[in-house]
């Protein structure tokens, strides 16, 4: 066994929900295969970039309560996204930096200060057999990742061969994302069935502060707040469901489609969160507030271009 194939990371304590994720399983939605992938792709990219991985390499997505990991050999790692009190052995280590973990050292995710999901990338990427081209874990269909499930204590992970050079962020090039603390305001474009709703319902959507309910998960955020009432009281014929779609079931309680969403749905959709704001959406925790701000297409385009520029400039 070559060193690159040897086990590299042991899960000592799994945290609330720690899964292997990459940029998602695209190209099979017409077979009913969900995309899954990182809820905050920008942070996944950031962590991969720091350790010199391709941006699409598989990493660990850590949720709300973080894990404790042990490194079985010297490993270059980076953590981006939600801010936790991170300890490598006895030493506090920082988010958004390259960390050299020595063989036998433990990394502990302590108290969470902001955001909901952190991404831990290790040089070489988490090496599991891809399923339909992706290592992302989709728990509802038990697909991908490690046996299609969340990691548990005692699991061991191997890493691929590290090729890229690690990136050392220079102080002026280091890009700090605005942390998500307590809630977020995200921009939306009209959804596939926005004309099923009266104008005052659209206004209601714009003016309401919603709360992410405790039953929210990687499939979707259920929002508490004034229910929206569609003008037409019927379901749509099932059709494909994009990420960020605001679905309105008969109860009127919005469900925002997230990474593990089903490939299609039968509820009308009033609006869709713009791509540039999906990563921030992915940093919301149950109990956080959420507001929607309508925007136009050029604004959505410009926001995404700016985000892509900022990501590319990170640590360059």
């Amino acid at each position: 066994m070559t060193p690159s194939e040897a086990m590299a990371i042991t899960i000592v304590a799994p945290g609330l929900l720690t899964t292997v994720q990459d940029t998602g399983r695209w190209g099979h939605q017409h077979y009913g295969v969900s995309v899954s992938g990182a809820m905050d792709v920008v942070s996944l990219h950031g962590a991969n970039r720091l350790v010199g991985n391709p941006l699409t390499a598989a990493a660990l997505e850590v949720t709300l309560v973080g894990p404790t990991l042990r490194f079985e050999r010297d490993t270059r790692i980076a953590v981006c996204g939600a801010a936790f009190d991170l300890r490598l052995g006895d030493h506090q280590v920082s988010l958004d930096t390259l960390i050299h973990a020595g063989s036998g050292q433990m990394l502990t995710f302590g108290r969470r200060m902001s955001g909901a999901r952190a991404y831990l990338a290790a040089a070489g990427g988490i090496d599991l057999t891809p399923v339909l081209g992706s290592r992302s874990t989709h728990i509802p269909s038990r697909m991908g990742g490690l046996e299609g499930r969340a990691l548990t204590a005692g699991d061991t992970l191997t890493l691929g061969a590290a090729h890229g050079a690690p990136v050392r962020p220079t102080p002026d090039a280091k890009w700090k994302r605005r942390p998500v603390v307590g809630g977020a305001r995200v921009r939306v474009l009209p959804g596939a069935h926005h004309d099923w709703f009266d104008a005052d319902v659209g206004e209601q959507l714009r003016q309401t502060r919603y709360t992410v309910s405790p039953v929210s998960d990687r499939m979707g955020y259920r929002l508490a707040g004034d229910p929206l009432v569609p003008r037409r009281d019927r379901q749509i014929l099932s059709q494909a469901l994009p990420i960020g779609a605001l679905q309105v079931p008969p109860s009127g309680g919005i469900i925002v489609a997230m990474a593990d969403r089903q490939t299609s749905g039968g509820y009308p959709r009033i609006a869709t969160v713009i791509s540039a704001d999906i990563p921030r959406l992915g940093q919301l925790a149950p109990g956080d507030w959420l507001e929607f701000e309508p925007c136009d297409r050029p604004t959505a385009r410009e926001a995404l271009s700016r985000l892509a520029r900022e990501c590319a400039g990170r640590g360059a």
Binding site: H30, V188, T263, S275
Partner: protein, 237 residues
């Protein structure tokens, strides 16, 4: 969303990462045939930035990578493909695949068969006959990997979903939900009325693609007895 009327279809932008071609919202084999043909053509065209092409009952959704392309940029290519695709009356271009699926109805395999018979005010044998007499069309896949939405169920046995969904429906279970029927490819929570179980794998990782059915296929159900079910179940590797 900017709706664009065509003769009998519209094109809409759904957010900034999807373009949707919509036909009249009906469960109709001709409309579905048009959707399948367009989806095939868009996939074959391999347009830059297209990540997924997904048939609905009366829609084709093209998912884009918005960093690479804009919905507006891809819309024109899709419009040309839709205009060039065969007319509704011509149906699909590719050969329709036919699949026969054996089903052991009732008993432990079909706990809701009696309820469906009660809904249809008929015998369980009538339900089985009516369920197996129809050649179904795969309108779309969704819900689970490899789960095919089949239509159209004989209206007399088109029982609505269960009031309370089951926490666990076994892989291979055959269900009815109104005009739709389908086979659960894997164990899952589910609300469909379960009338039987199919021993054929709908998802086989040794195959490429791993899924037995795709949109546009024809499916027939064939009743089998418990002994045959057990034999087929044991025979699959």
């Amino acid at each position: 969303m900017t709706g664009e009327e065509r003769s009998n279809w519209t094109m809409e932008h759904d957010g900034d990462s999807a373009v949707v071609v919509s036909f009249e919202p009906r469960i109709d084999p001709v409309i579905s045939g048009r959707c399948v043909a367009i989806a095939d053509a868009v996939r074959t065209a391999r347009l830059v930035g297209v990540r997924d092409v997904v048939e609905g009952y009366a829609t084709v959704t093209v998912h884009l990578d918005p960093v690479q392309v804009t919905t507006k940029g891809v819309a024109e290519s899709i419009r040309q493909i839709v205009d060039a695709a065969p007319a509704a009356s011509a149906g699909e271009q590719r050969t329709t695949r036919e699949t026969d699926l054996p089903v052991c109805y009732g008993g432990r395999h079909g706990p809701d068969l009696a309820d469906v018979a009660a809904f249809g005010q008929c015998t369980e044998a009538d339900v089985i006959r009516r369920h197996t007499e129809v050649t179904y069309r795969v309108y779309m896949l969704g819900f689970l990997p490899g789960f095919a939405y089949l239509g159209t169920v004989d209206a007399r046995i088109a029982a609505p979903r269960r009031q309370t969904p089951r926490v666990k429906v076994l892989a291979g279970s055959v269900g009815i939900a109104g005009p739709q029927t389908g086979v659960y490819p894997s164990e899952s929570p589910g609300g469909w009325q379960i009338i039987g179980r199919c021993p054929v794998r709908l998802c086989d990782w040794a195959q490429e693609p791993p899924f037995l059915l795709r949109a546009g296929d024809c499916v027939r159900f064939e009743p089998i007895d418990e002994v045959t079910y057990e034999r087929l179940q044991a025979g699959r590797s």
